[in-house]
Amino acid sequence: MENILNHIGIENYIFLSVILFCIGVFGVLYRRNAIIVFMSIEIMLNAVNLLFVAFSTYHQDAEGQVFVFFSMAVAAAEVAVGLAILVAIFRNIGSIDIANLKNLKG
């Protein structure tokens, strides 16, 4: 065995992650549907997870992968909470368009 990064190069992973992250950001900016926005955030988190694993290999260190567990736990918790709030909103105003949330301003 050898370090897989010898074939791919850490910077490729960095770029991949960065672009994936940016796509996530783009999604958050681009869409009004709250669920899609949540998905975009998930994409962002996944991009980071991917990079964690890459760095874990890069350093030949388990901690990076352990951190991914926490990251996943957090992602799961966030999604659960977010969706709960979303459901509450949907019950109140019948829409999940975040552009409708403009009562608080000024």
Partner: protein, 456 residues
Amino acid sequence: MNTLIAISGLGIFCLFAEIINLRKAIVPVAVLGLIAILGITVSEFDHPSAWYNNMVIVNNFSVAFSSLFIVLTIFILAMSGDFYKDKPSKFSDFIAIKIFLLAGAVAMVSFGNLSMFFLGIEILSISLYILAGSDRLSILSNEAGMKYFLLGSFASGFILFGICLVYGATGYFDVAEIYALSQGAGLPVWFYFGIAMILIGMLFKIAAAPFHFWAPDVYEGSPTLVTATMSTLAKVVAVATLYKLVTSLNANMPHLFQVVIVAIAILTMAVGNLLALRQENVKRMMAFSGISHAGFMLLALLSLTTAAGTLFYYTAAYAFAGIASFAVITSVTKNKATQNVSDFNGLGKTNPVLAAVLTMSLLSMAGIPIFAGFFAKFSLFTQTIEAGYLVAVIAGVISSIISIGYYFKLILAMYNKDADAETTSFPWVYTVVAVLAIALNIGMGIYPGCMFDLLK
């Protein structure tokens, strides 16, 4: 570490209390428990220790801030008893979440490993998302929760990315190791990207411009007591964490970073104060006031080696004043649909004690002497001047002047107008909390040395 365990245990106890029908006892038990925990925490002062492979590091900084958080939580919990009395079925949940929130907060100032930091900030954030949206039938509360959640998790993504890059650059999550490596040369530039990203994420959490937009909306929409929590506890936690992060990851912050901090601090003070001028909603006004205070607190990052004491003093002064004012605000607007300045008309006559407390806390926030807010601002200014950023001080002074405008709007309303509506009763618990908090604030003002010296 003991603090953390005890707090988590207390939270779980609250959940159990519900099951065994001890609902009435929850608040007293929680408050007493927290007081006991406060004792435990304080006893750890001057006994620095590291726990479980440096996951949790107890030092004076963490003890001081943890104690502050605990005190603030005690105040908030004390008010919760009355605040949630018409939601008995969820009572224990609210209390438990607030205690878990405290656990997250304690983790944030005593982390020794970035994983603890990340989990802490997420516990805090998620609890706050929930609390913000906890008034499920209110559209405003929903909106607040949603906004906070969306923006907050977005920012969390950046923080996570930052942590990842730091890890990539150093190979460690352990703060001490990272610090050691950061002192030497040869770190990949990612390290600084990572630091910058964490920094930006934290700037979002403390609501510094241009990452502040969520704060006013969320503060306004959330139930008042939650707003109180956010504007006092959450803000203080975020600032303390930011300070700890910056000091422990990278003590010799490059000059460029400082310039960014100064620029953001100035922008934040300006935005906070200017926008606060126009607000009619008190909670919203307090949000902007909080933003401007965040700008002040950022100045502490300019003198990293010496500012811990000052920052502690500032945050405590700000938080106590905030608790006092929010206790009054909660008490006054409890039965009202709005929280406008006009709702405070005539408070000076109908309830002079609350009016006096609110006046004093606003004066403290405005930085009028003898209240702790003054010494806080002053020593911050002194240190910033010593760090060589006179321009930031001037901006701080100008924004302080502007801030008088809106603080006094509220004071004027209380004393110079007659009450519009019938007066309602003011539950005693708010008054007690308000008076205690402001007494602490004044005490700090009369004898500031006691707190400045703690973190020498």
